[in-house]
Symmetry: C3
Subunit: 136 residues, 3 copies
């Protein structure tokens, strides 16, 4: 954790480079310093069929769900939401000037009771750092 | 908010016009009168790989998640669920007579603590109304 | 219920037969004996755009969300998580030896207050059993 899901209406693709935006969201989440490098998983979910507000096909949305382990203080969760919003607001600013656009972010706490994880990325990230140091 | 996600097994596409169904769900949500026009975002999520019950490839499902701001009375949330169910049940009735079909709707309240939104649609919807009135 | 969603990074498709893995998850959920046959709906959600940890394009993830009716004892929910993990861990073991891989499972309880369901699969499953018995 965290799991970051960037859901978007497909009509944004003509105006916004989505993969770059998702990469920037990923970097912004890492830059908060709240999470370990090996824990962050960011992905996009494209929606091809959508109806927003009055149904104008130019209306668009980005909706980000960030699922984090429970127990972090509220200020950290709000800081995460703000870091993500800063990215998506900046990268859609030109579009928002001329089209309907709804941006939203929800940071949700995971119920750890029913959670199970197996993740080799923590060990691999440490190994890459060690290899990098050894090469210096 | 609300965020309405209509998830469906891809084998419904041969029998049900999905985009029309999703549009009808969107209209039904608006017609409840619970939400502002600029707030409603309805989209579909198609599932290409699925196994339902005994795995018969004709078995199908529609699962709607409606995420609403927290604090609304239960009767409003149940009214929303019933309005959506009325649409998807009616538009799949012919199919349900001959195939396995599971319909479900879950209205969920959003944790507002971790929520952030930027939405220009409210202002745009009011502007369109004003323009429409001016044109009359 | 349950609703089982197997979300995965698209770069797994070259290494893991995803449809077979999802079918095996479905069978494992049924084999727990916790749920009725007609209630289980398992599907995959493919993610084409993703950034994991240091962003190495070989890094991969599988994230399973199992949504169950609320009120089951914790040991059943954990048993479900373990049954699913056993499948996805076994079927990705070769890959985990050489690539970054994050596996996760979250069993979540549904808020029944806002839930509505119409499901003809229970009746159909009983009918199939009856037909099978009659044919013997």
């Amino acid at each position: 954790v965290p799991h970051i899901i960037v859901e978007y209406s497909a009509n944004l693709e003509e105006a916004v480079p989505i993969a770059a935006l998702v990469a920037d969201v990923h970097r912004a989440v890492l830059a908060t310093g709240i999470f370990k490098l090996g824990a962050v998983r960011t992905r996009a979910a494209r929606r091809d069929i959508f109806f927003i507000a009055d149904g104008d096909p130019d209306n668009a949305f980005i909706n980000v769900i960030a699922r984090v382990a429970s127990g972090r203080p509220l200020e950290k969760r709000r800081g995460l939401a703000e870091a993500i919003m800063a990215v998506i607001e900046r990268e859609t600013a030109a579009l928002a000037a001329s089209r309907g656009l709804a941006l939203s972010i929800y940071v949700e706490e995971i119920d750890e009771d029913g959670a199970l994880r197996k993740n080799n990325l923590h060990a691999r990230m440490e190994q890459k750092v060690a290899l990098g140091n050894a090469a210096e």
